[in-house]
Structure formats: C-alpha cells, structure tokens
C-alpha cells in the first residue's frame, strides 16, 4: 500500500481539481504541504479542525457573476464564443458544430470525451468545433484527478484549444496580472491533460495548442472578449511539479512509521481526531512558511502561528530572511545586532552588518 495512503489513513482522498494542481507550484519547498497534497488530504478541513480556518472565501456576488458570464458566453449556440474564435483563431464560418459532452450521464463523460476527441483527431471532418463540459483526467501521485475545462475548441486546422472563461474584466487590453496568471496556470493543467489524452490515443500531443483562449468581460460591459495566452512557461512549471509529486516517496521514506495525518472522520464526515494530536503530527514534518502562503495555502494561519512561536524571521518575508543570511531566528538576529550574542562560526559577516545597522539606527534616532 502506498505510504501516502497510509499517511492519509481513513480520511477520504480529496480529489485534485485544476486549481489545486496548479497550486502545487505555490511553495514546492514546503514538505508539509507537499505531503498533504500528495496524500490528498483536505488541507482546508484540517486547518478548520486545528482551529486555524483558512482566510479564503468567495462572495456569492462573485460566484453568481461568474456563472452568469459563462452562461452568456455559451448562450444561443455559443454565439459569442464562435464570434471570438473566428476573431482570434480565424475559425472558418462552416465550423460551428456544438457537442455538449454532458448530455451523457456523468459516469460516461470521460469515456465519451475520449471517444469524441479521438474521432476529431483522427478525421478532422465532421468533428465538432465546440466541446462543452468535457471531462479530462491526470495522474497525480498515483491517483487520478478528473478535470473539467470550460470548453475545448477544435479547429479544422487540426489543433485543439483550451478555452478558459473567467469573469474578471479586461479593461483597455489589460487585466489583473495575478488573475491572468492563475487562469494561465489552470489552463496549463488542461492543456497537459489533453495532451496526455491524445498521446494515449496515439495522436501527436502537440496538436493541443499552448496558446489558450482566455475569455473575459471587456471593460465595464458584459460583452466577452477573447485573448490568446501563451502558457508554455506554466506548462514547464507544471511538469516539474508533477514529477516532484511522483518523487514524494523519497520524502515519505524518511518519515517515522507511526506518523499519520488521518483526520479520523466520523459518521458526519467531521474530523474526530484530537486537534492537538493532529497538530503534533503536522509539526513533525517541517513547513516552509512565507507570508505568500497567506494567499496560497489553507494551512497558512497554522504555520504562521508556529513560526511566531519559534520567533522565526520567516514571518517577515523571504526577502528579509535572505538578507539575514544564515540567521533564522529573530532573537538571534537582534542579539547579534546589539552585540549581546557572539556570532557563531560563519555568522561574523551578518553580525558585522547588523551591528553596523544597529549603530546607524541608534545614531539617527538618538
């Protein structure tokens, strides 16, 4: 049995979605996170159980807005979408065939998707142009994750394009770079999944374009606008992270055998494991907290609390941590600064710098 499964114990595996997979790259240096993701443990549930609920939430207005916009893009036989595909991909007029993969039962969707794309890839003729609600899959650390791109577009030219529909606005050609990046990372997951699919089917994976079609509302109107986004960089990062995930066993090997992240869910699915016990278990694998985690990891408040208790300079951010050279603890750094602590071997320089800085601050604030 996979050691990661042991780590998870009776806790049901949390399936990865595209966002979760994309998030693997957020902090690869963090063993704690890598193991929890690898084992497929619901970090959000864990965080709540530990008494450190994640600071994330989505406004109902945002959610409605998102759904309404997607509906608008797909309304009237994808009229808007076709217009945009004709604009950005030069789609021929004749290509309008629409396939709603969801017309089959959920249990058949993946197989149906495979069949449809296989046909499209084999004979471009009479293939669909817009595939709505396809279902792709990707292997993550030995488990299959199912992924639902918004739309996959297929072109007579024989290329597949991932279409990503987002409800953040493109204003005068610009959009929030963080939001675009997130969309690109997510789309890259779909591109990779679709490429793997074609490969399995014996087609050229590169027929999936690395340019994804990002559809957003334009300016302040509801009118959708499409932009091509090159996700090659995101793909490279993604491949790296996935190969790390398979390499997790290395990490796992060093873990004590009795270590378990099991939440022991009860009848109602709520964790029953004593929070303190879970906390101890987590603390046995090192985290690598950085303030950036506050926007990328469900466990952030737990790890920040840990960093506070340790008085770790990580609290102040990666940059500060780096400026302090080898010095990891706040007390140590300050001790070196006001000379109450002698530099350990290799700390002479940072000590000199800190003392200098301290001298200057005193002089100026005197």
């Amino acid at each position: 049995m996979n050691r990661l499964d042991v780590l998870r114990g009776t806790t049901p595996q949390k399936p990865h979605d595209a966002r979760a997979i994309a998030a693997l790259a957020a902090n690869p240096g963090c063993t704690r996170r890598a193991l929890m993701d690898g084992a497929g443990i619901d970090k959000d549930a864990a965080a709540r159980h530990l008494g450190f609920p994640a600071p994330f939430g989505q406004s109902p207005f945002a959610i409605t807005r998102g759904n309404v916009f997607e509906a608008l893009v797909k309304a009237d036989g994808c009229a808007e979408l076709l217009r945009m595909l004709r604009e950005v991909l030069g789609l021929p007029i004749a290509e309008v065939a629409y396939h709603d993969v969801e017309n089959v039962g959920a249990h058949l969707r993946h197989a149906h998707t495979r069949a449809l794309f296989d046909r499209a890839a084999r004979d471009g003729l009479d293939a669909g142009t817009v595939y709505d609600h396809p279902l792709l899959s990707l292997e993550i650390a030995g488990h299959t994750a199912y992924l639902e791109p918004d739309v996959v577009a297929f072109q007579m030219g024989g290329r597949f394009h991932i279409v990503e529909i987002k409800s953040f606005a493109v204003i005068d050609g610009q959009a929030d770079p963080a939001a675009v990046a997130a969309a690109a990372r997510q789309a890259a997951v779909y591109v990779l999944a679709l490429r793997r699919l074609l490969e399995e089917l014996g087609h050229d994976p590169l027929r999936v374009a690395h340019d994804v079609v990002l559809v957003c509302p334009e300016n302040f109107a509801n009118r959708p606008v499409a932009t091509l986004v090159d996700v090659r960089r995101q793909l490279a990062v993604l491949r790296r992270q996935l190969s790390r995930m398979t390499g997790l066993d290395g990490l796992v090997a060093e873990l004590p055998d009795d270590l378990s992240f099991d939440l022991l869910p009860g009848e109602d699915g709520l964790p029953t494991r004593p929070a303190a016990e879970l906390a101890d278990a987590l603390r046995r694998v090192t985290a690598r907290y950085a303030p950036d985690c506050l926007s990328t990891c469900d466990l952030c408040f737990f790890c920040r609390d840990e960093a506070r208790q340790e008085g770790a300079s990580d609290l102040l951010g990666r940059q500060v941590r780096d400026e302090l050279g080898g010095v990891a603890s706040v007390a140590e750094a300050l001790g070196l600064a006001d000379g109450t602590r002698d530099p350990a071997e290799g700390q002479e320089e940072i000590a000199r710098l800190l003392r200098n800085a301290e001298r200057l601050r005193r002089e100026c604030l005197a």
Binding site: P55, G57, Q58, S59, P60, F61, A62, I63, T64, R65, G66, S167, F168, A169, I171, D172, G173, P217, N219, F220, A221, N222, R223, P291, D292, L294, S295, G311, S313, L315, L316, G317, Q319, V320, E323, L324, V330, A331, A333, L334, A337, L353, L354, N356, A357, E358, R359, L360, R361, E363, C364, L365
Partner: protein, 475 residues
C-alpha cells in the same frame, strides 16, 4: 528593502510595536484632506457599492448604491459623488499666484491644492477604474448621464495617475504612507491591511485586525462573509435603509482608522523637500484644471507612444529626485546609503581651506577636508559627492582608508579667492557626504504625436470622442 528596514522590522516584532524608519514626514499633509473610502461589488470590475468620504472626521458622507446591478442607480451614485468631490476640488481654484518661467509664459498656480486620501493601493486602482468608467460619458446624446459625472471621471483619473507619480502627495494611500515611515513586525503583504498596520503603530499587533467581524476590510473589496450573510439578504429585501446601514457598518471602522493614520503622519515634522514637491503638485493640479477649462478631450484610454515616453521620463526624473531628497532630508534614510557604503558621516578632523589647484587663469580654489568615519566607505576616488549640510556644495572623493576620508570641495564656496565663510566645514563639525546627487540634466525632447516615427507605428489616429465611449455599458 534594506537591512536597516529589516532590522527595524525585527525590532518591531520583538518589542511588539512598530519602529520608525523615518525621522521626518516625506509626504505633504493637507489642512483639509478629502478622505475617500470606496467599496465595490464583488465580482464586478468597477461596480460601485458605496463610499464614505469627507473632509470632516465628525461628519462623513455615506453614498450607497442600493441596487448595485442597476445602471441608473450607479450613475446617480456617481452624480452624488461628483456633487461632493467637485465643489471640494474646484474650491481650490480661486486662490492663485503668478509663476514666472524662463523661456515660457508665466502661468497661474493655485496656492493650495486638494488631497485625496484612500486606504490602500487597491483603493487607488479602483479610483482609476471609476474614472475610466465615467470620464467618457456625456451629459447629452443617446445615453445621457448627469452633468458632473464626466468631469468627475476626469478628476478621478487624474488623482489616480498622480498617485503613481513619485513624490506626489495629491493622492495618498494610507497603508503606503504609513509603511514609508514605520516598520511593522509583520510582512509587507500583511501591511496592506490598514487595521493591522495602524495597530502595530499604535496599540500593538492583534489578530483582531484580520477578523472581518471586528475590522471589516478597508475596501474596495468587501468581506465575502458580509456579502453572503448581510449584504445579499439586505439587497433581496429591497430595503434601501437596510443596505445603507449594512454598508455604513462596514465603512465606519475604516473611517476612524483613516483619520488615525492622518494624525500619525501629521505628528511628524515635514521633511525639507516636501514643500517643493507639493509646489509641483500645485502646478500639476493647476495645469489639469486649465486643460479641463479649455475643453480638452478626456484622458486617453492608454498612453500613445509619445505620451508614454514623456510620462516615463517625467516619472523617472521624479523618482530619482524623490529618492535623493528623502535621503538629504532624513538621516535615517541616508543611513541606508551609509550602510551600503554610498554615503558616510563623521567628524571633520582636518581641513585645508585655502588650498588651490592650477596656475594663473586656471587657478582654482580646491579646499580639502578630512573626515573620520565609522561607516564602511565603498566609493572610488574621483566620485562626485554632495552633502545635506551644504546643498549647494559640490565635492569629490580623494581617498578613503582606515576610517579617514579625504574630500575635495569643488563647488559652492563663493566667487572670492578664499572660501565664503561657512562654506567649508570646520574641524570638529559633523558632516555627511554621499554619491547621491540630484544634478539633473534636462531630458531631450520628443517628437510631436503627429510625428511618431515608423519604428513606433507612425502617427496615431486623432482622438474623436465617439458615441461608443459614451454608451459603453456599465454593468
């Protein structure tokens, strides 16, 4: 961020209270700032939800869009906003002074200018979007909007753009200004939370700052929990009062924080360069007002090639000047450069005030000053130096070894054969010299927009206000 600031953060973390990283205030604070706290509807680009604003901390105005998705209510809201902001802005246009310029006609400059204070950079960004979504509207034509709205749009755009202009104080983001003067014991990311940052500076840190129930976000984004549990039902109910009350509850805590932030900054003495930078702000503001009066078209959506290049040149120039001025105005800022060896301070231990170089006509007064310093000097001989103690002075580094630095004074000693009294530091005086100097060579001109070269796409089409701009949906 320098090691000096990092040290301050460590200290703050250790002592549980923010540490000063400036000894003077580097931004201008208006006697009558307009505090402006906008809220937007989640999931929308620029759908205003509410704003709390005003110049009187005791009497904030609350503007609310009670049906945030209703286009007409949105413009009504913008009109109300115009009704409050425009009188404030235009109030400054009456008192002016005439400024003579070399090689150009004199112009009228306002004696004082308005100042917009928003909670955070996101607030500035939203102000920009509000401006963008209203400045192209028309009071006439197919989709008319209330009178003031297009004008408001232009001013909001202007204020948002000024916020990006280094050293300008026309628009301040509270978190940024506080962060420029105090180092908290948390990360820069967490400093973006106004409640948290002010907490560090005043009562000390508390996780309550992250609890939206105690300290609602300072906007423009609202707390999702609030949206779900309070706002949505209130809007459902169709009760305008209830929506207004809900939003007032979200805005009032931030309102108090904003004035607290202003008081904190106000308690610091203004740096020497602040007045001159504010003077530029007044000039810029007067220019904008003039353009508006002359009926110039609204600011373009994006800068054209020429506009972009000239704006970049102006901003780089301003940034350089701002950095140097801050260092000259503030020993604690200068200390950052002393730490990296680009500046040094110490006591004058020896001078040769009447030293001269050259013979006959090329005979020049070149006094030497030797300074004893503990700072690590990393300046090569020949480096041009300036000093905060005598701003008109020019100097050059001769040599620096074992804590003794020899400096040659090259400028600012007056015309006579011997240095003007006080122009050369005396033995025993504490002085500071730095390679940072603000000697700006004017930047070369740019072609007219009509003469944009082929390498940059050639002349752009002239802007004609199209109905398209005016009718653009706002939903």
């Amino acid at each position: 961020m320098s090691l000096l600031t990092s040290l301050a953060r460590l200290r703050a973390l250790d002592e549980g209270v923010a540490q000063p990283i400036a000894t003077v205030r580097h931004c201008h604070l208006s006697a009558r700032p307009m505090v402006f706290i906008p809220l937007k509807l989640s999931g929308e680009a620029a759908a205003p939800l509410a704003a709390m604003l005003g110049t009187d901390r005791a009497a904030p105005h609350l503007l609310v869009v009670t049906q945030p998705r209703n286009r007409d209510l949105r413009f009504a809201w913008a009109a109300e906003l115009a009704g409050l902001l425009l009188p404030y802005i235009e109030g400054f246009l009456s008192g002016t002074e005439t400024v003579e310029r070399r090689g150009a006609d004199p112009y009228e400059r306002v004696l004082d200018a308005p100042q917009l204070v928003v909670p955070n950079p996101a607030g500035v960004a939203f102000t920009r979007l509000l401006g963008r979504s209203t400045r192209f509207r028309r009071p006439d034509g197919p989709y008319p909007v209330p009178e003031g709205v297009p004008v408001l749009g232009r001013w909001l755009t202007y204020f948002a753009e000024r916020a990006a202009y280094p050293g300008s104080s026309l628009t301040l983001a509270a978190t940024e200004e506080l962060g420029r003067h105090w180092a908290s014991g948390q990360s820069g990311l967490e400093d973006a939370n106004l409640a948290a940052l002010t907490g560090w500076i005043t009562d000390g840190p508390s996780d309550e700052a992250e609890d939206p129930l105690i300290w609602p976000p300072a906007g423009p984004a609202t707390d999702p929990g609030f949206d779900a549990e309070v706002l949505a039902p209130a809007i459902e109910s169709g009760s305008a009062e209830r929506v207004a009350e809900a939003l007032r509850g979200q805005l009032e805590p931030t309102w108090r924080l904003m004035w607290r932030a202003i008081d904190l900054l106000g308690a610091l003495p203004a740096g020497a360069g602040v007045a001159s930078r504010w003077e530029q702000d007044r000039g810029s503001f007067s220019g904008m007002a003039a353009q508006l009066a002359e009926g110039a078209p609204p600011q373009a959506r994006r800068d054209g090639a020429i506009a972009a290049a000239s704006r970049l040149a102006r901003m780089e120039r301003a940034q350089a000047a701002y950095d140097v001025q801050r260092a000259y105005d503030d020993p604690l800022v200068m200390a950052e450069h002393r730490l990296t060896g680009e500046a040094f301070a110490g006591e004058v231990v020896e001078t040769d005030a009447d030293r001269v170089e050259g013979e006959g006509r090329s005979r020049k007064l070149r006094p030497l000053v030797v300074i004893k310093t503990d700072d690590p000097v990393r300046l090569a001989p020949g480096t041009a130096l300036g000093t905060p103690q005598r701003r008109e002075q020019g100097a050059e580094l001769m040599s620096a070894r074992d804590g003794l630095v020899t400096v040659k004074i090259t400028k600012g000693m007056g015309r006579s054969k011997t240095p003007a009294p006080g122009s050369v530091p005396e033995v025993g005086e504490r002085v500071c010299y730095t390679s940072l100097t603000d000697d700006f060579k004017g930047s070369p001109g740019l072609p007219e927009a009509e003469a944009t070269p082929w390498t940059h796409g050639g002349p752009p089409p002239e802007y004609v206000p199209a109905d398209e701009d005016a009718v653009e949906e706002w939903s």
